[in-house]
Symmetry: C2
Subunit: 526 residues, 2 copies
């Protein structure tokens, strides 16, 4: 039977607080250090490996984390989730994003339908639509092919799909599967839409309006902006727009769209990249086959996440070590550092995924918790970050755990040899070097050149960033965040913290304010 208990009531958590901390410089030194790095590795989906040799754990701590996983019933709670329990207690909803990529357990029947079949059905609808667009069966009014897909959405309807598109754009170019270019409009700032419209060929653009509720202010505003632009260009908006929404939303039955594709309330925005929210734009851009590969990678990661043994379950292990770093070692921030320029916006997606899911102060039952929950997440690709904020990571007064990612090969195939090595080798050499520099530090009589070390990291290593490996990495982090939410006994699937600002913004726009809020409104000339 599943029991939902606060982390600080668990015996394994008490035990965790009294384990002897690991000294990374000594743990990683000599032959034993080499052996440790070889051993502290878990196979992930699609040939990836999760190496935690430089995380601040040892066999003793891992044993306690294993106990914590068992006591917190992580595998059982995941099973509940994918079998259709109401895990999102705040909103009284099922949590089914994993079902968009595979059937993990029992059939889940909700609203009278088999949800896996529903998601597959939408994928098939999208695939058929995308194929018609690519084949020139669906065209603009002049009978010309669409060349650009423009996603209009914000938050989860923007960050994930955008990060994935950018991660695979060059790969698709190199593999001849870039069917359409994708652009993204998100911000209510009118210059966002105006800026994108000023650089695309509107007559050959297909706009994808994405809003689960069909009421997102930013997205509806940008829809109007775009419709205006289409009309001014003498074009019929209805010939240039598709909608991605829920079946019950105002957009679902709107005649103003070429097509509508559906998701539902069981998929949170930040978990929606593998639903129609990511499916439409990615299938149009890369072809449905590529999107299917992406889903396969995620599905394989989801299946591996079932393993109750964290030493064989990278997502669960990553989650548990993160909890140890956050709650026992007291590190408030985590950096995400992909050594891949293509992943430039992936940290921004993980920032939403993690911070919106686990930035909570109450447990699943609405009671305040007495321990820290989700950390601040930030990051930029390497090697760029090395020339920027790494100074603080190496020598600042706070320790920031690091999540590296690295790939042995680049996506586009072209490279140059300078000073005896390729750029790709330099990229990989840098991430290897950074792991050791952070963990082991360096002594120096000049304290300004002294590195204390003890700065933990793990790395996900793969051959190449492809649709499959990207899907596996995305699911890894989704599942990591889910497991951490289970440990902290919080609801990772609602976001009540976004409501108050919305309510107050409406008041400002209605000029229904007084006091300090009125002063700020006046200062901004509203």
């Amino acid at each position: 039977m599943i029991v939902w208990k606060n982390m600080d009531t668990l015996a394994a958590y008490s035990k965790l607080q009294s384990v002897k901390p690991v000294s990374l410089p000594s743990a990683l030194s000599g032959e034993e250090g080499a052996a440790r790095v070889k051993n502290y590795s878990v196979p992930m989906a699609e040939g990836l490996d999760f190496n935690y040799g430089a995380r601040p754990v040892d066999d003793g701590i891992l044993e306690v984390l294993k106990e914590l996983a068992a006591e917190a019933q992580l595998a059982e709670k995941y099973e509940e989730l994918y079998n259709g329990a109401v895990i999102n207690t705040g909103e009284k909803r099922l949590v089914l994003h994993q079902l968009t990529r595979g059937q993990l357990g029992n059939a889940v029947i909700a609203d009278g339908v088999d949800k896996r079949a529903f998601y597959v059905g939408e994928q098939n609808k999208i695939a058929a639509f995308a194929k018609k667009v690519h084949d020139g069966e669906i065209t603009n009014a002049a009978g010309e092919k669409f060349t650009t897909a423009v996603q209009i959405g914000i938050g989860g309807s923007d960050l994930g799909p955008r990060a994935i598109y950018l991660a695979l754009e060059n790969w698709a170019k190199a593999n001849g599967t870039l069917k359409m270019k994708a652009e993204f409009i998100s911000n209510v700032d009118p210059d966002d839409a105006a800026g994108v419209l000023s650089k695309i060929d509107v007559a050959h653009s297909l706009f994808i309006l994405v809003s689960k509720s069909g009421t997102t202010l930013e997205t509806l505003t940008n829809e109007s902006f775009v419709k205006d632009a289409l009309e001014k260009a003498g074009l019929d908006p209805a010939k240039h727009m598709v909608a991605v929404t829920s079946e019950t939303s105002p957009l679902a039955q709107n005649e103003g769209y070429l097509a509508a594709f559906f998701m539902d309330d069981y998929i949170g925005g930040r978990y929606s990249s593998t639903s129609a929210v990511g499916g439409a734009v990615l299938s149009l851009a890369f072809g449905p086959e590529v999107f299917a590969q992406f889903l396969d990678g995620a599905a394989e990661a989801d299946a591996l996440a079932k393993n109750p043994d964290p030493l064989q379950n990278a997502a669960m292990l990553d989650a548990l070590i993160g909890v140890y770093e956050r709650n026992v070692l007291g590190y408030p921030t985590t950096a995400v550092l992909p050594y891949s320029q293509a992943m430039s916006r992936f940290p921004a997606h993980l920032q939403q995924l993690d911070m919106e899911s686990n930035g909570k102060s109450v447990n699943r039952f609405g009671e305040p918790v007495n321990y820290a929950t989700g950390p601040v997440i930030f990051g930029e690709p390497g090697t760029n970050g090395q020339h920027s904020f790494y100074q603080l990571l190496h020598q600042g007064t706070n320790i920031v755990p690091l999540q590296f990612m690295g790939f042995r090969e680049n996506q586009m195939g072209s490279d140059v040899v300078i000073q005896g090595s390729t750029s790709q080798q330099k990229l990989c050499a840098n991430v290897a070097a950074q792991i050791i520099a952070f963990a082991c530090g360096k002594d120096d009589e000049d304290r300004n050149k002294y590195f204390a070390g003890g700065r933990p990291s793990s790395i996900i290593i793969g051959d190449k960033l492809t649709p499959k490996t990207l899907g596996a990495i995305l699911a890894h982090f989704e599942n990591k965040v889910m497991f951490q939410g289970f440990v902290w006994n919080i609801n990772s699937f609602d976001q009540e913290g976004v409501q108050l600002g919305k309510v107050l913004a409406k008041k400002v726009l209605a000029h229904d304010t007084d006091g300090a809020l009125k002063v700020y409104s006046d200062l901004l000339n509203i």
Copy 2:
């Protein structure tokens, strides 16, 4: 006389630790709250205002901060700096980036030249060169005009210029001053250069190679990558390249460039946007007149930063309140949140500026300090962030001080009215609403919908994001970081923390490794 003392030896700092903390919900309530927001405002350069009504200070705390400013001799130290003292003690260098935009004090003679005259001279050389490019006097070998400027640089040669270019691209379009498009290649990841080259018209592109030392590995590698591409396209690289470097670097006398523009060792990379590092690409993209306006905005901010009274010096005040938040209230992270899509990469620039400058654990004399220094900086534009990580900012277990920016007008002029308001009004309404939501919170019996408030923020408000206001904002943050470094008694102008990784990466590439580093190198197939 200037005395450099650790912060924890200052009487005002002791005093600061025992002040009564401010309760923001009560400080901002009612008529008194409204009056506070009106009063807690400092005029900045170019018509901007710095409003700190929602920062956790009151008149009593401000008085102590004023004492701290005086005791730490902030104004005097700034004066020393711009008069040419060796403020960068670690590298034994002057710190002269402010001199690129104005003569703030005495003439500074170094290396036998007047440095202000030197910087102006380089600006003039760049202006003349850019004009010739725009006028078609300098063309490609076929006599055709260049249409694209591609900056090749990393860290400070990338983040600042890129953030500024993006911040002004739409403004320039709307004002008819977008002379050339700019692109940026930074990462040693070969897919970065390959990706940019795949989307530009190489035959009409001018590449700007930027490296102060002339030895930056990433930049030299990318130069080779680009030269290869030019040669493969049958073009002469020497007709397509300019260099920005120091006069003593290997690049300075290289015949392979159309021109070379100079900076020097007295301008750190992260402070170099107003030197030739930003000057070349921005003058080519927008015209030298626009770059001059940008410098004017920064110069005005620099002049205002001389005021010894923090209540009339926004940069100094922002710095002092930040120190109070970091060291007394114990907040380890700060978010930068511009309500402007154009500023999408400005947080990444500030992240480098702040974290690389103040992420230090030793004082100016190389002695360990016993207090926290620079915080982690991260951010994304609003309203996008509201649909992402704001959940944690509102309801997470850690408090994150926020630095908002907002503008009354948009850059491109076009807008739509939906539900009775324009997009720009919605954007402004949201930032006003967020300030109050964060500071004041909201009670609710349902603890899941409860907002504790007490989450501090300030806002920089202006009419519009223009070259001048952007310059003023850039200099504001540079000066804020400088003042914080003075309070913490650290050297904000070196970056020894980046060295160890470089050394180890070289070892990896030379296969000169053993132990754990060799295992990581093997895992990455180097």
